[in-house]
Symmetry: C2
Subunit: 227 residues, 2 copies
């Protein structure tokens, strides 16, 4: 099934989940594609098309059963199971990820963490024990872990990616500022605030007219240009 | 120009920047679309097509001038200027964003932070002073800030978005677990690790065959299911 479903549709499904949970908490039992569209900022036609990929059709004049749709989408996304996750790189960012309270309730539990720095190895962050990266491969294989989070510096990240993939990791959430190269069959999502900001300024630049003098004064030329 | 350029092309430009900087640091002066494609994990045809949107054509048999292309893309993305940014929500995540060393070298400087909690207001995080959210609108207007980062809880984020937009903010980097509704002309990027993980498990679930007993045992049904 997945190969037939456009990635943009898959990317929207978590938003459906979130909206449907809120509706269910609010006691809403049935919702029309128009109402669901309003909650998601999409047109009713878009909603109907998205859900038709999964064989879900709202009854004409009645709408979608909120609980049933939520249950279906949860299963479709593979979220009725808890997914154990390993984290590689226990610096400031890695610690923030381990202590982030939003992952476990969503079914993602950081089971082990790995770092190359002997001063960090052996410590505990919350209840997660930090192991040496030399144990990474054997841990992943013996525990059958599918998902890894990378929070290392950019220059070592590709080497980490290669080792993770060779050990059986098939999903990588990458926080390192680089673009991982992976073989077919491995899914990568990169979390990159700088990239997000840089694609934003493309649109801001244009609508302000970057070359007028007032804008230049306001922002100032970059002294610390990476160029 | 921007309205004619597909968003997926804009999204790729930061990767070009990063690759070109590495090439320049390595002393590479000219690069072919094939070599650039290898660095970026794209086909030469893709590279040529992307860059043609910006009027950049590599000379046949010679390739692209690395420094000139880097300079052009920097200007196209509006990154020859430093962009002052405000942050709203100074909890654990907000502090991590302020102290993240990767933003300033890229031209994004957190100039002020705002929080609703009186116990946090008045404190300093690194060199950034935390102000009450009641001062948010006047600060943004008087300083002419274009970009805001939101790191508040999800349930207050839309209200913050509305106030930011009314004050003149046109670009929002959203870390709150919700989908902001904004008027046309405002650009939003949401950083959402849970969404990233949830779209990943869609692909993992399928290729393992989630329903076999071994997989179920390994992962365990979610006890803390949010449905």
């Amino acid at each position: 099934m997945p190969s037939e479903i456009p990635a943009v549709v898959v990317d929207r499904l978590p938003h459906y989940l979130r909206a449907l949970r809120i509706l269910l908490d609010d006691g809403v039992e049935v919702i029309s594609s128009r109402e669901l569209g309003e909650a998601l900022g999409a047109t009713p036609a878009q909603i109907r098309k998205d859900l038709s990929y999964f064989g879900r059709f709202g009854k004409q004049g009645r709408g979608y059963d909120v609980a049933a749709l939520l249950s279906d989408l949860t299963r479709i996304l593979g979220l009725e199971y808890a997914w154990p996750v390993v984290l590689v790189g226990v610096g400031r960012l890695g610690r923030a990820i381990i202590t982030y309270p939003g992952l476990t309730p969503e079914g993602f539990h950081v089971r082990a963490a790995f770092d190359a720095n002997p001063r960090i190895v052996g410590s505990d962050v919350d209840s997660v024990h930090v192991r040496p990266t030399s144990e990474m491969e054997s841990y992943i294989r013996s525990e059958g872990i599918d998902i890894a989070i990378i929070a290392t510096p950019g220059d070592v990240a590709q080497d980490v990616v290669n080792r993770l993939v060779a050990s059986g990791i098939r999903g990588i959430l990458n926080y390192a500022p680089m673009t991982p190269h992976v073989p077919r069959g491995v899914t990568v999502r990169t979390i990159d605030p700088v990239q997000a900001l840089q694609t934003m300024t493309f649109y801001l630049r244009d609508s302000t007219g970057q070359d007028d003098a007032a804008t230049r004064r306001k922002r100032g030329r970059r002294s610390n240009s990476r160029r």
